[in-house]
Symmetry: C2
């Protein structure tokens, strides 16, 4: 079993966020959810949360575990309550594109049509709330504001996807890496964590597959940003953004 400080920390967080609601399961775990304010569930009132309680199931995964694979029937949607997940697509020869990373509070399953259009795998230990799509469809009838919330989420994800398209189509390696560490920082803030230093839960290989680069280019580019004093690597998986303004200008292509 993995006992590194990093992994241990994630395990603890996981136990925390899932243990609390589950302890009072007779008493609405969803109402007590620590990440509810971040999640789709924020659209629901107390009454509707009770309906959620009836259909939610909890899932825990270890780092590296697969949640589902591209092409499988999209039977379920999820809310991530702790940890990090990566979504990815594969080409037949093994080339991989990570289409997104999910963190606590993120919803998983919006882009799903009949089948999942990407695979999902735990990057760290994760805890999830799982809903069958049929249950959720029934709930949406009773709670139309849930549909509005999903539309708003979809719009937000579309905007993010277009930023990623700009990044992949036109930005240099340096610009991509700067954009990436800033994105990590902004998303940490959004879920109430410190913005600096930023934890990097995923490997260099995952970062490369997300940014359309190789592991080696990611590593070299981080080294160059380090040499230029824009960042400091506290460890492989933790970075301090020393010159945020400079990083933002690099990221935007100035």
């Amino acid at each position: 079993m993995k006992n590194s400080p990093t992994e241990l920390r994630f395990t603890e967080v996981s136990q925390l966020t899932s243990a609390i609601p589950r302890a009072k399961s007779n008493n609405s775990p969803c109402a007590a959810c620590e990440v509810r304010h971040l999640a789709v569930c924020s659209a629901l009132q107390d009454e509707e949360l009770k309906l959620l309680d009836e259909i939610v199931r909890f899932v825990d995964l270890s780092a590296g575990d697969s949640l589902f694979d591209e092409g499988e029937p999209a039977a379920n949607v999820y809310n991530l309550t702790s940890g990090t997940i990566k979504l990815y697509k594969l080409l037949p020869d093994g080339r991989r594109q990570v289409t997104g990373f999910l963190f606590a509070g993120d919803f998983l399953g919006l882009a799903a049509s009949e089948d999942y259009i990407y695979s999902a795998e735990a990057v760290t230990p994760v805890s999830l709330c799982k809903f069958s799509r049929s249950d959720l469809d029934i709930l949406m009838e009773k709670a139309p504001q849930l549909e509005r919330r999903l539309l708003s989420l979809a719009r937000y994800e579309l905007a993010e996807a277009q930023d990623q398209i700009l990044l992949l189509g036109r930005k240099t390696a340096k610009e991509r890496i700067a954009s990436f560490v800033l994105m990590l920082s902004e998303r940490a803030v959004r879920r109430g964590e410190q913005d600096n230093p930023v934890s990097i839960p995923m490997s260099r290989n995952d970062i490369g597959d997300y940014l359309g680069l190789t592991t080696e280019t990611v590593s070299r580019t981080l080294t160059r940003l380090r040499s230029s004093r824009a960042i400091v690597m506290e460890s492989d998986r933790k970075v301090t953004l020393v010159e945020r303004q400079v990083l933002e200008e690099i990221a935007e292509g100035f």
Copy 2:
């Protein structure tokens, strides 16, 4: 004035689709709309179409005209009834990423938040139905199935965006071009046009900015596909897919 065969054809189509509904404007232009079955409007019943009639405004643009620019307040949404539009983002030094092309029946404005997150420009002469977002919000109250339709559209666009992310992050120039001509063909079919030969309304430069390549690479890659007998260029702006199966295998990375 533009008198080439190509431009003339587009002008004629434009007059057709816009003239018919406008001629019976007392009698529900939206009900008579030729592209309604393709558009968001297909979600609406006769009664609701009359509400649409009250808030719709018609817009025509010439090739090259701008519809709106990134950063402007997103006051309106649109339905494209004929012609082709490109959406794009710019970096400060002028690098451009085309994030999508729109054809007849396509909806424009889903990803809009407070402000437009991309610029929109007519590639050919176009006709559009224009709705103010506030009017549409009111209509959505009366016709909740419109919201459901938009969510379904957003899901579809998200899936498309992820395919584009895979293309930009991991596919070679040859794979990108093959994917592109197949996409053009598939979208032509969806709106009831012939699947082969396929008309290419946009310039090599626009194609490059969409696929993350330069004009020159687009041109060279088309030449190579032509040499390998997978395609035949009927003209600069029209391509016959000779070996569709081969193109599909190239596009998917086999």
